[in-house]
Subunit: 524 residues, 2 copies
DNA sequence: GCCAGTTCAACAGGTTCA
DNA sequence: TGAACCTGTTGAACTGGC
């Protein structure tokens, strides 16, 4: 059974030194059964410029580009056949090249990237359900809500037929362990502000690490602190004059931004000039500046406004108080949650600057993800329920378990997602709101028109999130957290798909009009 | 004489008596249950060229290479079976060889070291937090250098005992019978870098993909290719759980990360300029903005500081001034180069924000690669030497040819690497510094703790490099240059890896303490 | 159908530990 | 010494653009 016969005619069966594959059109007569020019094994075709077997093809692809230097355990002239080919990489590779295989034919990193992307795109096209457009026609409710400053534009199914309540969530930011919640509804910017910036992980304090560094130059790193808790941690709390920040008017963005820029820029200037004087002035680890604070505060304020409105919007028809709501109840309550969302969005200056089409696109595309985030915020781990404020005095509790009624393992996934949020994140209103903003201003929503403009807005929130983290925790940790949070956004997209499926399965007749509009249910 | 032949090369893998293993794909009909060719015990597969059991495999590995002469207690013709195999090593080993086991297939000492390293590296990449090496204990010098602003923390061997320039001869005492011993070592400041230590060949593959995504044509996200679909609608595969999906969805992560980074640079500026930029305004062809400029400038400044310090750091003991330095001289001079590197790193704000463990990991892992880059920068093509400033007025010239002293073709490879840099790149300080920064902030270094944080920083420099190129040459060219430069980084890793072994063979007694620490030489 | 790349289970080398 | 284990490498089978 010795196919070792091949050993006698070691090299290429065809031409001694090259078995370059002939041009496709021209069939080489002598080739009856193709043979690998490298090892003599059965060949299927031409690979990287020569006729080879599958294994030599793979071998060449894997090793030719790496500059890796192999060593021959023998005399650098090993004969390569189907059995011995594995024994000496060096001689095998050499033979590959000798018979004319070309490294150039191996796709570069870039080419592979392009290819992969192309495949992905094609895959998308096939799978893509393609939803209907956001025409003015099928977005009446949304448009009304967006335009109408008031509440009359509402048409709730449940106004007629009272039903259960609640939703995943509305804003329970209130329940947040952080004090600010307790401040609750006042809008007094000042008070909330303070909370804003400073509160936050108790342990971390708003240490302005940058400042600290300057103050204690020599031993930048305490060297003792464990890496995780780390490098900077507990330091004195520097109570910067946050107060001023709030007086700043959001409208005068230009001025503010200039401040920010100069701040950013100053670092450089410092470095360039007397770099010796303050070599440590870090780009990071500095407290939020006025602009940043203002932008963050805007979110907080918009969110606060969210807490009360529910009641005004519609008569209290929270009948289910008597018992636990069904899944359908809960779903329809998301109607309310979404209205809140819209209201909140409208409080964001940037949002209002977008054209109506984009506003609709963002809301339609993002509202469910936003709700999931709210769900995370309002989750009460102890009771396993969402705490949802309805009136100033009344808080509703809805068992998360209601999700078990949904198909698939929505409940488990939802729980896992919530759990995957570090309690510290969940309870940090600022983090959650920033994530919400990033989610809202997602430039990749379908039907978006001014994509770049939206992208810019989103970027500003990414940036702000990062800055916020830097101002709260230092160095490595800030970046780690930032990345983990970004990962959460990625997970959110996926989880969202599963949630949406629940809506799509609904019978339009049982669902609130607004929901029908948002999920294009009629079209199903 | 088949045996002879088979010993020298695998040409005849199958000797009459052998039970040489056939290629895996080819099913040997006669083989029902595999049996050890040596002892008849149950065999699992092919080991060192023959089908053997686990114990004979281990036996052969342990004893075949040792020149050890065993003595047969009997007549030199013992029967070897599962029971008797341990009675006579001599006959057992002889039988091993008889049935075709080849000592050449046993990895040499050096190969094993390389392999071990690679494994450890990979392990570190996966296991993120776990702290291991780089303990404070074995990184004293580094820590001193990192903390101490001054230079007193230095302990140079050459300060104390100027010792013979040594011959490498002993270094290549490599025990391996295989030629590899030939590696010898060579060092150029640059080349020595390679040894750097932590060779890391991460393939930039997946990462590059992300980076390229952004660079591609203006309409990065043709709206359809975008991963996000609308608020509902199947984003990726549908039913998978969030957890699973996460892996599959790395692509989305890439995109998000990119957004986050560009946010870092653009937000402030863009907003100021008027975020109503036309929707299609291309990201290319615009000059660097303030933030980007600042970050780049920081590198330049840090680099400037690098040029003078050498003399302060240590008394000039460049004995070789009288003549050309030997390879060992050069190797030990890398000590100085590394000190500069550390100094430079410390001038980077971002670097300082990392915890000490990470700072050490990055320096330990990256310093040799960084030195290779410096080698490229300081190379004088005309004279074929490196120009290394020692004092402000004095520049040292070291012939690159010193690398020829090293075994193997280190010199050639090094030269090739340098030459492969377009002179335009080499002379562009910004490009070289950006490459250095990318190399420094390599998240895949072993023992890194906050891997993702470092990755973020690195991505940031990738982004900056791209932007820099865009600002200097036009869109298309920028793109291809960017890719070529990335490829260089990849080559750098390989070059580095290929010579790590050189350092490993050094005799610790002849090497500067800092180098010992960085290369963990003592541990050998 | 060709020929790039991708995937994954088996393979074969080293390492560990009793 | 050898069973158990770990990991990088191989290669058969498969995917997908052209
Ligand atoms: Zn082959
Ligand atoms: Zn060979
Ligand atoms: Zn055996
Ligand atoms: Zn014997």
């Amino acid at each position: 059974m010795e196919d070792y016969v091949s050993l006698t005619s070691p090299n290429t069966p065809v031409s001694p030194l090259s078995n370059a594959c002939t041009s496709p059109g021209e069939v080489h007569a002598s080739m009856s059964g193709k043979v690998c020019g490298v090892c003599g094994d059965k060949a299927l075709g031409c690979n990287f410029g020569a006729t080879t077997c599958e294994s030599c093809k793979a071998f060449f692809r894997r090793n030719a580009l790496k500059g890796k230097e192999f060593r021959c355990p023998f005399e650098n002239n090993c004969k390569i056949d189907a059995v011995t080919r594995r024994f000496c990489q060096k001689c095998r590779l050499k033979k590959c090249l000798d018979i004319g295989m070309k490294k150039e034919f191996i796709m570069s990193e870039e080419e592979r990237t392009v290819k992969r992307r192309k495949i992905e795109e094609n895959r998308m096209k096939k799978t893509k359900p393609v939803r209907t457009n956001n025409t003015k026609n099928n977005s009446k409710q949304l448009i009304q809500l967006l335009n109408g400053g008031g509440s009359r534009a509402n048409q709730r199914k449940s106004d007629i037929k009272s039903e259960a309540e609640s939703s995943f969530s509305d804003s329970d930011v209130t329940t947040s362990p952080l004090d600010n919640s307790s401040e609750g509804f006042h809008e007094s910017p000042a008070s909330s502000n303070k909370a804003t910036v400073i509160n936050s992980h108790q342990q971390l304090t708003t240490e302005t690490r940058g400042r600290m560094l300057e103050m204690s130059p020599p031993e930048d790193f305490p060297s003792d602190s464990s890496p995780s808790t780390a490098n900077g941690v507990i330091r004195s709390q520097s109570t910067m004059s946050v107060a001023d920040a709030f007086n700043i008017n959001l409208r005068t963005m230009d001025a503010l931004l200039n401040t920010a820029i100069s701040a950013e820029y100053n670092v450089v200037v410092d470095l360039v000039r007397g770099n010796d004087t303050s070599p440590l002035s870090p780009v990071r680890d500095r407290p939020l500046n006025e602009v940043e604070m203002a932008k963050l505060q805007e979110l907080v304020v918009a969110n606060i406004a969210l807490l009360a409105p529910l009641t005004e919007e519609r008569p209290v028809d929270l009948h289910y108080d008597s018992g636990d709501p069904t899944l359908l109840n809960v779903i329809n309550l998301t109607d309310i949650a979404i209205r809140r969302m819209i209201k909140m969005a409208k409080k964001l200056a940037a949002f209002k600057t977008f054209c109506q089409e984009d506003q609709i696109a963002l809301l339609k595309g993002g509202c469910t993800e936003l709700m999931i985030l709210r769900s995370v915020m309002s989750y009460d781990a102890d009771k396993g329920c969402w705490k949802i404020p309805h009136t100033e005095s009344h808080v509703n509790h809805i068992k998360v378990e209601v999700l078990k009624e949904a198909q698939g393992n929505l409940y488990e996934e939802h729980q896992r997602f919530i759990q995957s949020f570090d309690p510290l994140w969940r309870s940090d209103e600022h983090i959650m709101l920033l994530l919400s903003a990033i989610t809202l201003f997602d430039p990749n929503r379908p039907h978006v028109i001014h994509r770049d403009a939206i992208k810019l807005e989103q970027e500003s929130y990414y940036y702000l999130l990062r800055r916020y983290l830097e101002s709260v925790v230092g160095g490595c940790n800030a970046r780690s957290m930032f990345l983990k949070l970004i990962a959460k956004i990625s997970e959110l997209h996926i989880l969202n798909d599963n949630h949406v499926r629940v809506y799509l399965d609904l019978n339009p007749k049982e669902v609130e009009p607004l929901l029908i509009e948002i999920f294009d249910l009629k079209s199903r």
